[in-house]
């Protein structure tokens, strides 16, 4: 099963240097169980951190060079659309579950799923091929150690949870042998993506001083009851319902202001 691991532009939490996100290294480990030659894709100004993925077991890495601060989503979507229309289409796309770079939002997998019109499965900890051809059985990590087994039809995007098996150790020789293919961004036909994702929002957020918040663990459960399942509510209504839920459970206690 051809698998592509998407590699973000993560920074080391200690030194701040570009490095390979551990989640993505774990994703490579999961991919290696399904595909003897898992491939990687990185879109960004440099592959300095992502190239370590070859040392963790990727056999090839495509790097699409974009300029600093540019939204990588159109290039990712364009590249993958090309691949899906190719003669050996990939069946599984794996990503980390969160952004680990400076301004990364971690929302790329979801926007990508939307752009490619693929299903997305969050927080995979184990993946194996399904009994029926063209399906995949994924174990999802839930809160409080719960696991949920899901069978999905391929192709699919899945994000990987930190509780997945630890990554294969890095091997310098493997990184040296791995194939790094560079592409120029203008050679990739950009796929249409929703407008709001193409303009990165920088510095428009509001800063608030830290304050102690009640522990979420106290009352929140692992799964939502059916009584608060609302299908397609109006945004205002949805916001009101969420706030009401949070206050009911003692998670938010700040009144209606």
């Amino acid at each position: 099963m051809k698998t592509i691991v998407l590699l973000s532009e993560a920074n080391d939490p200690i030194s701040g240097r570009p490095h390979l996100s551990r989640l993505e290294a774990q994703a490579i480990g999961l991919a290696a169980n399904l595909d003897k030659t898992p491939q990687g894709l990185h879109v960004g100004p440099s592959e300095e951190g992502a190239s370590a993925a070859l040392g963790h077991g990727l056999s090839g890495l495509d790097v699409v060079e974009t300029s600093v601060g540019e939204d990588p989503l159109p290039a990712i979507a364009g590249f993958l659309k090309n691949a899906l229309n190719g003669n050996e289409p990939p069946a599984l796309f794996l990503c980390g579950r969160r952004g680990e770079g400076g301004l990364e939002t971690g929302i790329v997998p979801y926007l990508l799923a939307e752009a490619l019109d693929l299903p997305i499965l969050a927080d995979a900890v184990a993946i194996r091929p399904g009994e029926v051809q063209g399906t995949l059985v994924v174990d999802q990590a839930m809160a409080k150690g719960a696991r949920r087994r899901v069978t999905v039809r391929l192709p699919v995007i899945a994000t990987v949870h930190a509780l997945a098996p630890p990554p294969q150790p890095f091997a310098y020789g493997r990184m040296r042998r791995g194939e790094l293919r560079r592409h120029r961004a203008d050679m990739i036909p950009a796929a249409a993506t929703s407008a709001e994702s193409t303009t990165p929002v920088v510095g428009s957020h509001e800063e608030r001083p830290h304050r102690a918040r009640p522990k979420l663990m106290r009352t929140s459960g692992t799964s939502a009851g059916s009584h608060n399942l609302h299908v397609g509510p109006e945004p205002d209504e949805a916001a009101r319902l969420i706030l009401a839920y949070l206050e009911e459970n003692g998670i938010r206690r700040y009144g209606n202001d």
Partner: protein, 649 residues
């Protein structure tokens, strides 16, 4: 015609058989990688290397040297004399045969001494099997040769008896010659060649600093294959070295991992490496097995991976080593076990990524933030808040650059460093630290086989150091000392590196600090492997302790033959389970001296020995003891009674 007349021809036949047998090994050595060897120098140095260096090591076990000198000497003398017996005029002389008989008698005396080491029960470190039968062959050959030559010297009164004695001697002699391919006698030919073509000729130069012969060599990271996977990946003279092993087991007796029940025996490993190129052991290995031996497949060959669960050596064996070099120090055949282990580790780590999961963690931190503990570099000097700790970036130059190392992140190591910094300030030393610019020296990465990370850090550190002016580098970490002093020159950085024990001893000797006497306290000193064995520095710390008036007791294993604390070579990171822990064994030896305090000089040793549970002597760094004495001197007016109240309860 007498039987003695055939003795010279027997020697010729033995030499032919030995030549054919060793020739089979030579073919295997030739499959190794090329090595640059100065043959002329090696051949010239052979007598000295054998008679001085080898004998010096053999002589540590008197029963071995007393056995080996007459046996080998008698054998060589007898065979050499018999060469002249091919000349008919000489063979006719009865005096000549008396000389030959004397040579065989000397050999026979040696064989008796050898037999006493093995019978009725062999020393536990010796190999049995063919090694146990060796004195039998040698004895029959020596006795038969002696009696045949004696009869010839007496004018051959009993020709029939002389033939009856000659045949067993001939059979034993040929059997001995046949073992030069894979048996005991291989050590003689391979050992002599190994001394000539030794991969580290500097170790025979006793004038040179010891560290020059112990530093690891850089690996070409552009090579097709990184590290050693199969026998052909070793240089040919390394394959030769494995063949030189006499299986005397001194390495095994000295190995801390073996003592702790971890699956490593240096002797077994070298025997395995020697057997690997020939397709496995010719006969079953007859020494002690690896403790808690792991299951292996046992496939072997010149082009077969050595280290793998299917191969000849289990990976756990490789990762048990603390790189303490005790085996190398004890080896009478001058084999470099640690080099072989590091070469094998390099392949496992860099080509396969087959490193124990726990050891991958520090390596991942190295890649992420240049520090195996995963702490930010700028936090390195945080412990010294409140102390005067100048940074070289502010001063630009200093007489002494203090290399803090990993100890700066460890609460216990920080206590040592604080004592050292306070002493330096008290002595008015012009010193500074790199602060946030100091990366880890890379010792742990290199010993775990991650040469790529080591070389990156070495180059970065050399580049940083080149920006500042200083006369010497001072460090309290022998691992950093060894790496910077002996392994950084290959990356363009040659520095005068001094260990804090030597530096503090200088301060005391020159009177720049005036410690009070700590007399009344008993102490023992634990030599760090990377200071004592790797760099030969065993005197300065002792001189310093003596200057403090401490009653110093020595452990049975001390100085260059000290036992490892278990903290080197990434062994604590790999954490291969054994029956006991190496620091527990060492602490037992410390307790045997009855000393109340053990002085240490390495943050690794401190951590390992302090990790020993239960009632035990106090672990104090030499720098802490000195600072304690300096402070005691300040409290007391000069000339007051020794500070007896410092004696711990």
């Amino acid at each position: 015609m007498t039987a003695a007349a055939f003795l010279p021809w027997l020697v010729v036949a033995m030499l032919l058989v030995a030549a054919v047998q060793i020739g089979r090994r030579v073919m295997l050595w030739r499959a190794g990688k090329p090595a640059t060897i100065d043959w002329i120098v090696g051949l010239k140095a052979l007598p000295k290397r054998y008679l001085v260096d080898v004998h010096h090591v053999v002589d540590r076990d008197k029963s071995a040297s007393r056995m080996h000198v007459p046996t080998a000497g008698g054998l060589v003398l007898a065979c050499g004399l018999l060469g002249f017996g091919l000349v008919p005029a000489i063979a006719a002389s009865r005096l000549y045969w008396a000389l030959v008989a004397l040579a065989f008698l000397i050999m026979a005396a040696g064989v008796v001494l050898e037999a006493r080491r093995r019978y009725p029960r062999a020393l536990p470190r010796l190999s049995l099997g063919r090694w146990q039968r060796l004195p039998v062959y040698l004895g029959v050959f020596a006795a038969g040769g002696f009696l045949t030559a004696l009869l010839a010297a007496l004018g051959n009164p009993l020709p029939a008896l002389s033939f009856l004695l000659f045949f067993p001697a001939a059979a034993a002699g040929l059997a001995l010659a046949a073992t030069t391919a894979s048996g005991p006698m291989r050590h003689a030919l391979a050992g002599a060649t190994h001394l000539v073509a030794h991969p580290r000729p500097r170790r025979f130069d006793h004038e040179a600093p010891k560290g020059e012969a112990t530093g690891l060599r850089p690996l070409d990271l552009e090579a097709d294959k990184l590290g050693a996977e199969m026998p052909t990946d070793f240089a040919w003279n390394r394959l030769l070295a494995f063949d030189a092993c006499v299986q005397c087991g001194r390495c095994e007796a000295a190995c801390p991992a073996f003592a702790a029940g971890q699956p490593l025996s240096p002797k077994h490993l070298i025997a395995d490496l020697a057997a690997a190129s020939g397709g496995g052991h010719a006969r079953t290995y007859a020494g002690n097995p690896y403790p808690n031996e792991r299951q292996i497949g046992g496939t072997a060959g010149l082009h077969t991976p050595i280290v793998s669960p299917d191969g000849l050596v289990h990976p756990d064996t490789l990762w048990s080593c603390t790189t303490c070099r005790a085996c190398v120090e004890e080896c009478p055949m001058m084999i470099e076990h640690v080099d072989a282990i590091v070469d094998l580790r390099r392949f496992q780590t860099m080509e396969l990524g087959a490193i124990p999961m726990k050891a991958e963690e520090p390596l991942a931190h190295y890649r992420g933030c240049d520090e195996p503990s995963g702490r930010p570099l700028f936090e390195r000097t945080d412990f010294a808040a409140g102390l005067s700790l100048p940074r070289i970036v502010e001063k630009g130059e200093a007489e002494v650059l203090l290399w803090l190392g990993q100890a700066a992140y460890d609460l216990r190591g920080q206590r040592t460093l604080k004592a050292l910094i306070q002493t330096l300030n008290a002595a008015g030393v012009d010193f500074a630290v790199l602060g946030g610019q100091e990366r880890d020296c890379g010792d742990l990465a290199r010993r775990l086989g991650d040469e790529a990370t080591f070389q990156r850090l070495a180059k970065a550190n050399v580049e940083t150091l080149s920006r500042y002016r200083f006369a010497r580098i001072l460090t309290a970490d022998p691992h950093a000392l060894h790496v910077i002093r002996n392994e950084y020159p290959a990356f363009g950085g040659t520095y005068d590196v001094v260990h804090h024990t030597a530096f503090l001893a200088e301060l005391v000797a020159s009177g720049r600090v005036t410690p009070a006497s700590l007399a009344g306290r008993t102490i023992t000193y634990h030599d760090p492997c990377y200071l004592g064995r790797y760099n030969g520095e065993v005197e300065a710390p002792r001189a310093l302790l003596d200057a403090l008036g401490l009653e110093r007791r020595e452990m049975a294993r001390s100085g260059k033959r000290s036992m490892c604390c278990g903290g080197g070579g990434g062994a604590p990171s790999a954490d291969i389970p054994g029956d006991t822990r190496i620091p527990d064994i060492r602490m037992g030896q410390i307790k045997d001296t009855g000393a109340k305090t053990v002085a240490v000089a390495c943050p690794q040793c401190t951590a390992m020995l302090e990790g020993v549970t239960g009632e035990r002597p106090e672990v104090k760094d030499v720098a802490e003891l000195l600072w304690e004495a300096i402070e005691a001197g300040r409290r007391k007016p000069a000339g007051a009674a020794p500070a007896r109240e410092l004696q711990p309860a």
